[in-house]
């Protein structure tokens, strides 16, 4: 069905449903409980009859006992908006396997679970594409990417799965990311809050704090998945190095040998720990995964244990 996920994994994922801690606030009908009153089988409350109410909802049994007219109210079932923030910056193109491929697979899995649950899925890839130039080949590539990105906005229904996967496959990663701005803008753009999943390496010199805070403030139930390459966790190059940042072009000189590996790993651990503590303090579910991690391990164990879905 898709190169991103195996049929076996898809079959396993069909059993899951995204678990939303809050009630859905979407205006569109769906299968999620919401605070809105409407038509469903779930009784919610009574209220006094007012002129013009539909007689079909009058509780006649109550009228018989009290001789007063009350209207029965039912919960409205609405859809759950799921927004997947996918880091498509240059830094995601590193690693073996490539971090961006891994991120797309996770995005595909989450999107598939949401689509199967009749939820609305949006994949927001950042950074934005560069402005169009005169070059035809570039024009074609950018327009195809633009089309793919557009096709990933507000996807609903299981029937859209194929197109969803295809559009996801066409995404490419380049440019320098601004995680905070992308998340803030995503939070503002959303008409209703829902589930937000952030897939990134979080290696942004500007940080990640304001972006994640904006999502939480907007009412999103946020899940953050940090994806790092094996080489970032455990560097294999030693000696006197001049490191060039792929996104910013910044230069960092370092002398690195096996004997300093431990302190580097400690630095990575410290970085991840700060991110984890930040997330825990704001009710954000946080996961760290190496791009060589087995996908089903992350999806079927870690996310399930963290009750992202169940």
């Amino acid at each position: 069905m898709s190169a991103l996920l195996t049929p076996e994994l898809l079959r396993r994922l069909e059993q899951f449903q995204l678990l939303a801690a809050r009630r859905a606030k979407s205006s569109a009908k769906g299968e999620r409980r919401s605070r809105a009153r409407g038509q469903s089988v779930e009784f919610a409350d009574y209220r006094n009859y007012t002129h013009g109410d539909d007689f079909r909802y009058l509780d006649w049994n109550l009228y018989g006992r009290l001789e007063r007219l009350f209207l029965k109210l039912y919960e409205e079932e609405r859809e759950l908006p799921v927004r997947i923030f996918l880091d498509a910056s240059e830094s995601m193109t590193f690693g073996t396997p490539v971090k961006f491929d891994f991120a797309r697979q996770v995005a595909a899995a989450i999107g598939y679970v949401a689509l199967c649950g009749f939820d609305r899925v949006s994949v927001i890839a950042f950074p934005d594409l560069p402005p169009l130039g005169a070059d035809n080949t570039q024009l074609k590539a950018v327009s195809s990417e633009l089309a793919a990105r557009g096709g990933l906005r507000a996807v609903r229904g299981r029937k859209s799965t194929l197109g969803f996967f295809q559009n996801l496959s066409q995404l490419t990663a380049h440019g320098g990311a601004n995680l905070n701005e992308a998340l803030r803008r995503g939070a503002l753009e959303a008409r209703q809050a829902g589930v937000a999943v952030v897939l990134s390496d979080f290696l942004d010199p500007a940080g990640y704090e304001s972006g994640l805070t904006a999502l939480v403030s907007r009412g999103f139930q946020v899940n953050a998945v940090q994806i790092l390459a094996p080489d970032e966790l455990n560097p294999g190059t030693y000696g006197d190095l001049r490191l060039v940042d792929a996104e910013t072009g910044g230069i960092q000189e370092v002398t690195f040998g096996r004997y300093r590996l431990k302190s580097y790993q400690q630095t990575v651990q410290n970085f991840c720990q700060r991110l984890r503590e930040f997330c825990q303090g704001r009710g954000i579910s946080f996961f760290t995964a190496s791009s060589e991690t087995a996908l089903h391990d992350l999806l079927l164990k870690q996310l399930r244990q963290a009750e992202v879905w169940g």
Partner: protein, 612 residues
């Protein structure tokens, strides 16, 4: 612990250089990474981004500093002061006698002694001085007092063992003058202790340190050698050899006799422990040549395993007897087979053409210039004055002199004698309380035997000792035998050769090893003296048309006894024990340098382990 070169601590200035290596930044390899964020955080946690970085704990730095400290420490040349007091002047006497060639120490005692002396040179402080003396038959100053270790080492390397006996008195006298009035001086003798008694220095209290070399004594050697005509057959020679065994074990060996390198005879020989054994070989001889005796079995000392002697064909001796009526003397002289006797009653002209003159109670008009036996006559050139002594009593005679061999003066009575004092040119062979009765010696180049009494006025001609003495006297006065005895010298002693009348400018000596030495003869010189007889063997001298062969032998029982002695005798009571010290200053820099090398290797290994 002290330091020989404390100035080397100035090299400590190199330590900051090593630190600077770690402060400077290095050329780097460019690498594209996804983000430098993690590296920035990593560096922020480990280092600052200034041109100089904080000195961090780094094993490589510590190892390099340690190695540098070791090198500086080694350059400062620390040492531990040994048990002997340190001296400012050391006089090293290196025994170069034949016994030092013994191979009981490998490669030889001499090489071991030289090695120890070289170690002492290494242990010298900068201000210390050392003198190197080589003592064999003669003492040679190889290096005067200096602090230059290179010169001292070179001087020691130039020393070489000889085949000569030990004459250390000369070396000690020289050393004594060097250390006189110096309280900080020491004399270091490197020897095996095979020395004669040094009683002369008993009360001198020499600051002597005796370094003994040598371990054992497995040696047999030829200690004496002589050749004579066989009295029973004049065509044959009797070669007399005395072989000594100085080891405490019995030794078996073959002894070989050569004549001009032709093997004549081989005899098996069994030598009892610490005993000597005389042997006589009878060998025919038709021409002048060299007899060589050789011990076949190898032992610790090779120099005494071979000895050579020149044997000349006997020539008739022409003797002129100046006598009035001494029939006894004439008969005795005529009975000698080798003597051609002429008899005259007066001598009025120089006795040219005779080998010897016998003056029997006559005063010649012209005193002979050849070798002379003078009986009851005197010459003012020989004695400053004389008197007449009546009936002198014989009290003593020198039986070890060749003239008195087998001669006994028991029951000899003398009626009257000329009384003289023993002159400087001779030794008294027969003594009475008032005057010497027989004197023998060499005056200029003339051999003289003087008998102070008239033999006819004594009972001597009636004794068997009289003809024996006359035979001995003719033998001793024979210029040929005198020359023959000069053709064998002991190693280290000079060889003397009487030059012929015609003037010669140069001569050449061929040593046993084939090397040649040219000698310049001063005009008017009557004698040629060759002193470089340090090597045992057969030498050949060529002076003009004359060719002379002479032999140099060790033949010294004291030298052949190579048993090393723990103590040196100084007179009756004085002695110096062998020191057990090896070196006074034990320098440590070699060990520290080796530790530095080990640290360097460890650092190399550690660096490659880190960056591999």
């Amino acid at each position: 612990m002290s330091f020989l070169a404390p100035a080397a601590f100035a090299f400590a200035a190199a330590i900051p250089v090593v630190v600077v290596f770690y402060l400077l930044k290095r050329k780097r390899v460019v690498k594209l990474v996804s983000s430098t964020l993690l590296w920035q955080k990593f560096l922020a946690e480990t280092q600052a981004s200034a041109p100089f970085q904080r000195l961090r704990h780094n094993w490589l730095l510590i190892l390099q500093l340690l190695m540098l400290a070791l090198v500086i420490f080694a350059l400062a040349r620390p040492y531990f002061v040994g048990q002997s007091k340190s001296s400012r002047l050391r006089v090293v006497i290196l025994d170069a006698s034949a016994s030092m060639q013994s191979t009981d120490e490998k490669p030889s005692r001499f090489e071991k002694a030289r090695g120890e002396a070289l170690q002492w040179v290494s242990g010298l402080r900068d201000a210390d001085q050392m003198v190197v003396l080589q003592a064999a038959a003669n003492t040679e100053v190889k290096q005067s007092a200096t602090s230059d270790k290179t010169a001292l080492r070179r001087a020691l390397q130039n020393c070489a063992a000889t085949d000569s006996p030990t004459h250390l008195v000369e070396a000690f006298k020289l050393a004594e003058t060097l250390v006189k009035d110096r309280s900080d001086a020491e004399i270091h003798l490197f020897s095996d202790g095979a020395l004669p008694n040094l009683g002369e220095f008993e009360n001198k209290n020499l600051p002597l340190v005796y370094h003994r070399v040598g371990q054992g004594c497995e040696n047999a050697g030829i200690v004496s050698l002589d050749v004579r005509a066989n009295p029973e057959n004049l065509d044959q020679r009797a070669v007399f050899v005395n072989v000594g065994n100085f080891s405490t074990n019995a030794r078996r060996t073959d002894i070989e006799l050569f004549f001009d390198n032709q093997l004549l005879e081989t005899r098996p020989l069994e030598l009892a422990p610490t005993n000597s054994q005389p042997l006589v070989f009878i060998a025919p001889q038709t021409t002048n040549g060299v007899f060589t005796v050789r011990l076949a079995a190898p032992d610790d000392l090779a120099a005494d395993n071979q000895a050579s002697i020149v044997s000349l064909m006997p020539q008739p001796m022409k003797v002129l007897l100046v006598s009035r009526t001494n029939q006894v003397l004439e008969k005795v002289l005529r009975s000698q087979p080798n003597v051609e006797l002429s008899v005259v009653s007066l001598l009025s002209e120089p006795a040219v053409g005779f080998d010897a003159v016998v003056l029997d109670d006559v005063i010649p008009a012209v005193w002979p210039a050849v070798n002379t036996l003078a009986i009851h006559t005197a010459n003012t050139n020989w004695f400053p004055g004389w008197e007449t002594i009546q009936t002198p009593t014989i009290v003593d005679w020198k039986s070890t002199h060749p003239l008195l061999r087998f001669v006994n003066f028991d029951n000899v009575y003398v009626g009257e004698s000329i009384g003289v004092k023993t002159p400087a040119w001779g030794v008294a062979l027969l003594d009475s309380p008032q005057t010497p009765l027989i004197i023998a010696g060499q005056r200029e180049r003339q051999r003289l035997v003087w008998i102070g009494f008239d033999t006819l006025n004594s009972s001597w001609p009636l004794r068997i000792s009289f003809p024996i003495f006359m035979v001995n006297a003719m033998e001793w006065l024979n210029p040929a035998s005198a020359n023959a005895s000069q053709l064998m010298v002991r190693a280290g002693d000079p060889f003397r050769y009487g030059l012929p009348a015609q003037p010669l400018a140069a001569a050449q000596v061929t040593r046993p090893d084939g090397t040649k030495k040219s000698l310049v003869i001063e005009p008017g010189a009557r004698e040629l003296i060759f002193g470089e007889t340090f090597q045992q063997g057969i030498y050949r001298l060529k002076a003009g048309t004359n060719e002379v062969t002479f032999c140099v032998n060790l033949t010294d029982a004291a030298e052949s006894n190579i048993m090393p002695h723990d103590e040196l005798p100084f007179g009756k009571y004085g002695k110096v024990a062998a020191t057990t010290l090896k070196r006074a200053n034990l320098e440590l820099w070699r060990w520290i340098a080796m530790a530095g090398l080990a640290v360097l290797l460890f650092e190399w290994w550690y660096y490659h382990k880190r960056t591999a």
